[in-house]
Symmetry: C2
Subunit: 318 residues, 2 copies
């Protein structure tokens, strides 16, 4: 951490990677209004709840969801034992490197792959596998660790909100058990504030020790209209801010926008093919179409990556 | 709050309703050990997680679970529209006032009654119904509000642990949506720290407003071996203290007891027929048999209500 970075954290500019402009101003005005006692928009601390989508909002989701890269390795490794996968979706998409096909299978497809490859072990064993993988796996384009392909402006936003007594949750369509083991280290968010898709688990005694075994049955598909379900289950009260980037976040944003009081609703729009990726309505992963229309109709914020962010990724430490 | 009560909260005696003796000493020794830096048992703040069962541990569960009393009213009210209930379990138990039958139907039966009567409405509507009911409903024996039939010694324990930077969760076999609306007011526990049984909900837009509708499908049966499942899902890390009173808490206690480090595992044993109730292995509700054997075998604490508690319920304010 440089001296400049520390100064910023002290309040000089809490969001140095955001360019000056309407989007940055909307964020800082909102935070000022809800945290200033006596303001019409003041929100008491226990009600300051903010939600962040993960894929495409906190880290890169192209050329495919990171968790999918993790899964592909397992599917390929196990394929010889499952000849039927060659002709069965979504497995054949993996074996044929058909990313568009994989994308079309959506979160449901992801969960089917998960169920076929990453179940049967205990939750502890799976957490170790996920943690070990993420510590060395690198992004094909940026050639840095996936956990370094996170967005510096969003990290600043996470930190800024938490410094203003927000309780921050990650609400991901991806697997909760995949994200939790490293969420605190990478994002500074405690693992119990990660809400995500999950498999059902089963309690068992093994060698006189209780364990939870991952079954192949889907417990929660925390994407699209499943996100408000997960939010209500885990948090049980109305959030006041939500950050997403795709149509899979639409219902989460609608849910957060509803009810009385000030709200900050923001979409990250990937417009920077040079520094990251440019995609929206026609992308196989992180498709953004309906949610962008809704943002325009409802006056939600849109962070245009090319326009609003002067930095994309954190600097790598030497 | 009396002056004496305030002094106690300041540390003179954090547990004034607990008689001096081995049980109280085990509690205070544990808290001292895990909160004293340099102690071999020291636990850093983020890992100080404690779990409390609700029925029979925090409040009275005789002559039946409080939530069942709430349900019975609805089942009776709707019975004329469902003639088949007269011959169908668990509905017939309700209509025949057969408490033993109801008890034998267990949490599963409770959830079936819930699904038949308290679904279809939005989560917000249900929360209001539960909140309204609990504000006036009274216990048949003690003739005070159910929310006043809570155990003063356990309230002190909740407060004592929170004052020592424990994050406290209520882990109930009862309905999460039933307990959450009043948990903060009655127990001082934020609603998102209530883990319980639940129905699946479905996202819908009604009059351009997003709502969650309670379906009749069971989402989680947070009892017995379902408790570690709920704990792992909501908290995702090992708790270090757990408090229960029945065989439905056994797996929660085993789960908490496992792993390395100091643990406080305690069963409330209802031994006081005069001041509350006396029951264990033969009770239709809150049956305690296997968990008591396990407590003896493993050296867990047992709070004998008659011996260990000098007060049962909070004094009623004038």
């Amino acid at each position: 951490m440089t001296a400049g970075r520390r100064d910023n954290a002290r309040g000089a500019d809490p969001l140095p990677s955001w360019n000056e402009g309407a989007t940055k101003r909307a964020i800082t005005d909102f935070v000022k209004n809800v945290t200033t006692e006596g303001s019409a928009d003041y929100v008491r601390v226990p009600d300051r709840i903010a939600l962040f989508d993960n894929d495409g909002t906190l880290w890169v989701e192209q050329p495919m969801y990171t968790q999918m890269a993790f899964l592909l390795e397992d599917v390929r490794r196990l394929a010889p034992q499952h000849p039927e996968w060659k002709t069965t979706e979504p497995f054949k998409f993996v074996l044929e490197n058909d990313l568009a096909g994989l994308a079309s299978a959506g979160v449901q497809g992801l969960m089917e792959l998960l169920a076929a490859t990453q179940c049967g072990m205990t939750t502890e064993e799976f957490a170790k596998t996920a943690k070990d993988w993420i510590e060395t796996a690198r992004h094909p384009k940026f050639e840095r660790l996936y956990t370094q392909c996170i967005y510096q402006p969003m990290l600043e936003l996470l930190e800024y909100l938490q410094a203003n007594d927000f309780e921050v949750y990650i609400v991901t369509g991806g697997g909760m058990e995949f994200v939790r083991p490293w969420a605190e280290r990478v994002y500074g968010v405690p693992l119990r504030r990660v809400v995500g898709s999950s498999l059902k688990t089963r309690f068992e005694m093994r060698d006189d020790q209780p364990v939870l075994v991952r079954t192949s049955e889907i417990n929660l598909l925390n994407d699209g209209d499943g996100k408000p379900v997960g939010i209500h289950e885990f948090i049980g009260q109305q959030p006041i801010a939500a950050f997403g980037n795709s149509d899979g976040d639409l219902e989460m944003l609608q849910w957060t926008a509803s009810g009385a009081g000030a709200r900050l609703i923001l979409l990250v729009h990937h417009t920077d093919a040079e520094r990251e990726y440019a995609y929206d309505a026609h992308s196989p992963f992180g498709r953004l179409s309906k949610a962008l229309d809704e943002a325009k109709a409802r006056g939600w914020q849109v962070a245009d990556m090319k326009r609003d962010w002067n930095t994309i990724f954190p600097a790598l430490s030497q």
